[in-house]
């Protein structure tokens, strides 16, 4: 057995199969390796723990989505708003193929206190924030978004909250073809961009500044 090369994907799919059938993670790496006719060494060649397998699957999902949208011809014509929308639609399309696993893994994360990211989602968050930084940076450059100095850094955090919200919404979504998730994405992202684009509050702030500087004279 040991002579046969065990592949990363084989371990991943055996693991997914196990947790979805049993509803919990295997009792030990030893038991898992034995049941799949490999050694613990084979397992540790690729992963340090069961959690590491899940992290890998999550990371692969978001990488696939970003790779796919950048390949689309329309990508270069898209505004920042459309790029973020495109990401969300594609990402949840990718997740569809692994919906049961995602549901399992999110449940395994336990309750999510605000401001804390579970270990399983860490690489997803890093990739997502890096992606948003790029897209938003171009949006600021093109003037689509309003430069509000210190606030700029917060934009991507708001998008991350939207990400978590949509993920949770999608997991609970019972509508046909997850149409309600589509609506949640369309409406949510549009609201965020309406706010971070130039909006009436900017005018109000400017007017306030003007009054402060001139009205008392």
């Amino acid at each position: 057995m040991a002579s046969k090369k065990i592949k990363k994907q084989d371990i991943q799919s055996a693991y997914i199969d196990y947790v979805l059938t049993e509803g919990k993670e295997p009792s030990s790496v030893y038991a898992f390796a034995k049941a799949n006719k490999m050694t613990e060494g084979d397992f540790y060649d690729h992963f340090s723990s069961f959690e590491a397998i899940e992290i890998g699957i999550w990371a692969h999902g978001i990488d696939t989505a970003i790779e796919q949208i950048k390949k689309q011809e329309v990508w270069n014509e898209y505004s920042a708003r459309e790029r973020i929308l495109s990401f969300f639609y594609t990402y949840f399309e990718v997740l569809r193929n692994n919906r049961s696993f995602i549901k399992y893994s999110m449940k395994a994360c336990g309750p999510m206190p605000p401001g804390k990211t579970p270990a399983r989602l860490k690489p997803v968050k890093d990739t997502f924030l890096a992606f948003c930084t790029d897209v938003l940076g171009e949006g600021l450059e093109s003037g689509e978004l309003t430069d509000r100095k210190g606030l700029n850094r917060r934009y991507k955090d708001v998008l991350w909250l939207e990400f978590l919200f949509v993920l949770d919404f999608w997991i609970k979504d019972n509508s046909k073809g997850f149409e309600k998730t589509d609506e949640a994405i369309e409406k949510g992202v549009n609201v965020i961009f309406d706010f971070i684009g130039r909006n009436p509050i900017d005018s109000l702030v400017e007017y306030g500044k003007f009054l402060f500087q001139n009205a008392s004279k």
Binding site: Q72, R81, Y89, T90, E93, K172, S175, E183, E186
Partner: protein
């Protein structure tokens, strides 16, 4: 346990949204009434306009089926005062567009292909919005196509949207909830049909094939290979919207030609096919460059049941005037006069409905009819106005098929009046006239 809780929570959230809209709407009505109390001189027209705007705002933020009902109400100008109708007609071009990425995703999911793999060119900007979807222009080779894409979630939200519209409908029509129920069911069933683009494609093909021999009328070809329940691809018909065409001040001969095409189209369907395009909204018609009538949108098609057809068009027969017993029997069959009515009620409704049928049948009773004559349409409005102020009519009367058949015919009369056409009405007339 945890899962159960969260599901309940999201349900609450969902109904909160509707409660909120409902509250706004309720607030609107309070606003109108208080306005009226404070300033009794506020003209009815102005008040109606305010109402319509607010209702329209509430509805257009919902999009989908609620918007459709608004359009349907606006169709029946005889029920709605003019200001409502004008505002509601706006709802045609109002819903916010779908984002490009969602369109791209829809195609990927439906056909497993990129848009660019299907079409040689595709305009990401919607050329216009329909009530439950939007239309894009695309090209394959030299062929120009119209691609209709449905808003996500529309089919799902119909029932809840209708519940939302119910208070408006109750107020506008002044009916009780139980009585309105049979009509709303009919409307709901039709609206759900409209969200199935595969059905629309079949209906479009069926009717356009059956009507292909009619003069001066043009139908788009449909492309089943690029269509499914959410995407519908057909020929792009180049032309002017009916309203814009009328602004070019066409000659009387041209008006008559388009009007005749419209009349023939509808009456051939009603009397020969017993299957009718039940959405005679001006937005569903074009005048092409060659001066033909282009017909779009076969989402709403009403099958006219044989027994209803015979009873209803039996009333159109001029002989009926001299045969009160027969007319009475038909009114009873159509449930316009009910078994429990007192003799006084029977007499009252008999006269009321006879007037209505007289008006309705007027175009059929001559071989040529001038819809441009303001007298006719004013008589229709006046009747509608009178009916809306008749307390005896604030209860459900008439079988459910009236909704779409009336909408179709009064809609048709309205458009023909707007066009100002004089048409030959004896070409496809009710078969009842011949057997009389």
């Amino acid at each position: 346990m945890k899962e159960q809780e969260s599901i309940a929570a999201s349900k609450v959230k969902r109904s909160m949204r509707f409660v909120k809209t409902g509250a706004q709407v309720g607030g609107n009505f309070i606003k109108y009434y208080s306005k009226k109390i404070v300033d009794p001189s506020t003209s009815r027209d102005e008040l109606d306009k305010d109402n319509a705007e607010d209702i329209y705002n509430a509805l257009s933020s919902l999009k989908g089926s609620a918007l459709k009902v608004a359009q349907m109400l606006s169709m029946d100008k005889s029920i709605l005062p003019k200001a409502y109708a004008d505002q509601f007609s706006l709802s045609l071009n109002s819903a916010p567009p779908l984002s490009g990425p969602l369109i791209v995703r829809t195609f990927n999911r439906s056909f497993g292909k990129q848009i660019s793999e299907i079409f040689d060119s595709f305009d990401m900007k919607a050329s216009h919005a329909a009530s439950i979807g939007q239309v894009h222009k695309a090209k394959i080779g030299d062929k120009e196509l119209a691609v209709k894409i449905q808003y996500p979630g529309v089919a799902d939200s119909i029932s809840s949207d209708l519940k939302l519209v119910k208070p408006f409908a109750l107020r506008l029509l002044g009916m009780s909830e139980a009585e309105l129920a049979i009509y709303l069911k009919e409307v709901e069933a039709k609206l759900i049909e409209e969200t199935d683009y595969e059905l629309e494609l079949r209906q479009g093909q069926e009717i356009s094939t059956a009507c292909a021999h009619l003069d001066h009328i043009e139908f788009p070809a449909y492309y089943p290979e690029y269509s499914n329940d959410k995407v519908l691809v057909m020929d792009w018909i180049e032309g002017m919207a009916l309203k814009d065409w009328l602004k070019t001040d066409p000659s009387q001969a041209e008006r008559n030609k388009i009007g005749q095409a419209l009349w023939d189209f509808y009456n051939y369907q009603q009397h020969e096919l017993k299957l009718v395009h039940a959405d005679p909204h001006p937005g569903n018609f074009l005048v092409t460059k060659d001066g033909q009538l282009g017909v779009l949108d076969f989402g709403c098609v009403k099958q006219i049941p044989e027994d209803f057809y015979h009873a209803f068009f039996g009333l159109v027969n001029p002989q009926i005037k001299n045969d009160k017993d027969k007319a009475m029997a038909l009114f009873r069959e159509l449930q316009m006069i009910l078994p429990n009515d007192t003799p006084a009620q029977v007499e009252f409704f008999f006269n009321l409905y006879t007037d209505m049928i007289d008006l309705f049948a007027r175009p059929y009773r001559e071989s040529q009819f001038d819809f441009g004559d303001p007298g006719f349409i004013q008589a229709l409005y006046a009747y509608g106005e009178k009916a809306s102020k008749t307390p005896e009519l604030k209860q459900a009367r008439g079988v459910k098929h009236f909704i779409y058949v009336n909408r179709t015919n009064f809609g048709l009369y309205n458009i023909l009046h707007d066009i100002g056409a004089e048409v030959k009405t004896d070409r496809y007339s009710p078969s009842m006239l011949e057997t009389a």
